[in-house]
């Protein structure tokens, strides 16, 4: 018997759940409290695209992890904090939450950065992984075309700016700063390590690639 996370019934029910939350919040953008529902739509759209782009290179094999719904404890804490901040500020400083047009405008910015991550995952195909790979796979190649022509870590670039803009969508001043610092620190630790592994795998090819591309996240070389 397969690992329970690979059961097709749970995968489809998780898909139903993701679609349901998105659909419910989509309606409430128009009938309810706009900023938080825009945020929820962005979040669950993200989970949907995580799944579709993860499964793209392997359509007959998947697991619940592909949705990244329970990304990591820090991610869940950050999510909870942003919701708490939203409602506390709405209660005490309602005028902060009235700037609907900032919220709507930055929704499109967030979608723009989401596209970087999703396109990057599609272009990388089976070379993409949600986890850093430290050993060589036979079919693992260096991807330098498409979006990777300009950015070395387009999925990180997209995710970094996406996560920050979601907090601007929520009109959350504290979480915007918190998300910026936390996401930056995460990539500050991860990217150098990942590049060390890639240099070990691809040698000079990667060093040359590094010369002509950028990371796109400020102060990370």
């Amino acid at each position: 018997m397969k690992n329970w996370t690979q059961r097709i019934d749970l995968l489809v029910l998780t898909g139903v759940f993701v679609g349901l939350i998105f659909g419910f919040n989509f309606i409430l953008i128009f009938f309810g409290d706009t900023p938080i529902h825009l945020f929820m739509c962005l979040l669950f759209l993200y989970h949907f695209f995580e799944f579709t782009s993860s499964v793209y290179p392997r359509p007959y094999q998947s697991s619940l992890h592909d949705f990244m719904l329970f990304h990591s404890p820090p991610f869940m804490c950050a999510f909870a904090l942003s919701i708490i901040e939203y409602y506390v500020e709405k209660w005490y400083f309602p005028s902060i939450k009235n700037h609907i047009y900032i919220s709507i405008g930055f929704t499109f910015v967030a979608l723009f950065f989401q596209s970087f991550r999703t396109i990057a995952m599609y272009v990388a195909g089976s070379n993409f992984n949600h986890y850093i790979e430290t050993s060589h796979r036979e079919d693992h190649i260096l991807v330098t075309n498409g979006i990777y022509h300009y950015l070395r870590h387009p999925s990180y670039f997209g995710w970094f700016w996406w996560s920050i803009t979601t907090q601007i969508v929520m009109l959350n001043p504290l979480s915007t700063v918190l998300y910026s610092v936390t996401a930056w620190y995460f990539f500050y630790k991860r990217i150098p390590y990942e590049e060390k592994c890639l240099i070990k795998l691809f040698g000079d090819d990667y060093l040359q690639y590094k010369q002509r591309t950028v990371v796109g996240i400020p102060f990370i070389q």
Binding site: L11, V12, G19
Partner: protein, 246 residues
């Protein structure tokens, strides 16, 4: 053993067996359920149409879940039964069309909660009976009548089957009719009742004949102590084997 194929489902293509195709179908179904719940929550006038939409979509999720859980080797996009048959889609089209035409002319009559809320309760009961019956019967249940015996095929006669011989048909029959009460569609109530009844009136006697052929006297005794539960449908006991020649 041959692959399990639900009624109305065609033999799935490789594309339809893809996990991403099934999951994305689930996401789209969930999306519409979420939209309907959002509309109900927002207080739109056509609440019962949204309720019908949810009932309809939940039905398809449960049909899929049954296949995924009990016949995982056969699961595919067609397990959702979304492309069940032209008759099924036509009936859905009639129901939606009748609703919106009548809503346009008689909006208050079309959204009377004293009609659609009791109907919703009956639909839920019908769906529960159908799904419980299907899951409980496990791999013995089949959307297609089996005309050859499987080694693992045994007569299920306990739990819900202790009282009803065809609980999944019983549940679906009342579910389908009362979805039209939810919509307060007078024409489709009659249409659905007639269509469902005539379908089962033909199917159940034939199915019981094949079951009698497999289980013999045991099934005959089972028939003596149970009901079909759909009005005016009866089977000769023991079933007439000549039906199988058709």
């Amino acid at each position: 053993m041959k692959n399990y194929l639900p009624i109305g489902a065609h033999s799935p293509t490789e594309f339809e067996k893809r996990i991403d195709v099934m999951v994305i179908t689930g996401v789209i179904i969930g999306l519409f359920i979420g939209l309907f719940i959002g509309l109900i929550y927002s207080g739109v006038g056509f609440t019962n149409f949204c309720i019908f939409g949810i009932l309809f979509l939940v039905f398809h999720i449960l049909e899929f879940s049954y296949v995924a859980v009990c016949h995982p080797e056969s699961v595919s996009f067609s397990s959702f039964l979304l492309t069940h048959s032209n008759e099924f889609l036509l009936a859905l089209f009639f129901a939606v069309t009748e609703y919106w035409i009548e809503y346009f002319f008689f909006p208050n009559l079309k959204t009377c909660p004293y009609i659609y809320i009791p109907a919703l309760v009956i639909c839920i009961i019908g769906q529960v009976i159908r799904s419980v019956a299907m899951f409980y019967a496990a791999s013995n249940f089949n959307h297609i009548i089996e005309t050859s015996s499987r080694d693992s095929h045994k007569l299920v006669d306990d739990f819900i089957y202790k009282y009803l011989r065809h609980p999944s048909y019983f549940g679906w029959f009342y579910w389908s009719i009362f979805t039209q009460f939810v919509l307060i569609n007078p024409i489709c109530i009659i249409l659905y009742a007639w269509a469902s009844w005539s379908f089962f009136a033909e199917r159940i006697p034939y199915e019981e004949a094949t079951l009698y052929q497999q289980f013999g006297k045991e099934y005959s005794q089972y028939m003596d102590r149970t009901f079909i539960g759909i009005p005016f449908i009866n089977s000769v006991n023991p079933p007439d084997l000549k039906n199988l020649d058709d």
